[in-house]
C-alpha cells in the first residue's frame, strides 16, 4: 500500500500483511505530530507527483535491500498532536535489510517528495522549513 491520504491507517493490519513465508523481520516507522507548542499540524502535498515518487522510492528500496514488502502511508490535512503522519512498514528476510530499507525510505521522502508541513499555533502558523536545497532541480539525499 503506497498512499497519500487524510485517514489514519491500521498499522497492525499492515504488519500482518507484511509477513511473508520468508520474512524474518518487519520494521515499522511511525512519524508522529510532536507537541512543539502547537495546536495542530497541516500537511499539504503535490499529490500526483508525490504518489509517483513514493512508488519509485518503494521500488528502489525493494531492489536495493531485497525487501519482501513495502507500505508507505503519508497523511495530509489537519492532524492533532499525537496523530500519525507517516507510516512505513517494510518486510525483509533479515533485520539488517529491514532496518536499512526503512531508513532509506524515510530519508528519501524527506529529501525530495513534495509534501509540506505547517505548524498551527495559538498565534497563527509557521511552515516547517525544508532542510534540503533543491535549486538545481535535483534531489539531494
Amino acid at each position: 500500500m503506497i498512499a497519500i491520504q487524510t485517514d489514519d491507517v491500521d498499522i497492525g493490519a499492515l504488519i500482518i500483511a507484511a509477513k511473508k513465508h520468508t520474512t524474518g523481520a518487519v520494521v515499522v516507522f511511525d512519524g508522529i505530530v510532536r507537541d512543539d507548542d502547537i495546536v495542530e499540524m497541516e500537511l499539504e502535498a503535490y499529490e500526483d507527483v508525490a504518489q509517483k515518487e513514493l512508488e519509485k522510492i518503494a521500488e528502489d528500496a525493494t531492489t536495493q535491500f531485497n525487501l519482501l514488502s513495502v507500505d508507505i502511508v503519508h497523511r495530509i490535512g489537519r492532524l492533532a498532536v499525537g496523530e500519525n503522519i507517516l507510516i512505513i512498514v517494510v518486510s525483509a528476510g533479515h533485520r539488517e535489510e529491514a532496518y536499512a530499507g526503512s531508513r532509506f525510505i524515510i530519508e528519501a521522502i524527506k529529501a525530495g517528495v513534495p509534501i509540506w508541513k505547517k505548524e498551527l499555533t495559538k498565534d497563527g502558523g509557521r511552515w516547517v522549513p525544508g532542510k534540503h536545497r533543491h535549486g538545481s532541480g535535483t534531489k539531494k539525499t
Binding site: P114, K118, G130, G137
Partner: protein
C-alpha cells in the same frame, strides 16, 4: 495557449494554489513565473533574487518533472503544460 501553474506551501499562500494563465507560444518558464510574480511584490521577493534569478531553494517542475533553475530560461512552455513552483519539501 493556457498553462496551469500550481504553487505550494508558503508560495500557495502568496499567489493562490492554482492559476490558469494565458500565455503566448515561445514563453519560457522563467518569463512565465516572473510575469505572474511581478504583480505581487511580496511573492516576487519570495521567488526571485535582486538580479531577477530564481532563489536557489525554489523548486520548479514542468509536467511532474523537476527543471533545473538554471535551465528555466531556456525551457519553453507549451499549451496544456502544468508548472509547479514550491519551496524545499518538509514531509516525513
Amino acid at each position: 495557449m493556457n498553462v496551469r501553474i500550481r504553487f505550494f506551501a508558503q508560495f500557495g499562500e502568496l499567489f493562490g494554489s492554482e492559476i490558469i494563465h494565458e500565455s503566448v507560444p515561445g514563453t519560457t518558464l522563467t518569463s512565465l513565473i516572473k510575469g505572474i510574480a511581478a504583480k505581487n511584490s511580496e511573492g516576487y521577493d519570495a521567488i526571485f533574487d535582486k538580479n531577477g534569478a530564481f532563489l536557489d531553494f525554489v523548486i520548479l517542475m514542468k509536467n511532474g518533472r523537476r527543471i533545473d533553475n538554471a535551465d528555466a530560461g531556456k525551457t519553453r512552455i507549451a499549451d496544456g503544460d502544468e508548472i509547479a513552483v514550491f519551496p524545499p519539501v518538509a514531509g516525513g
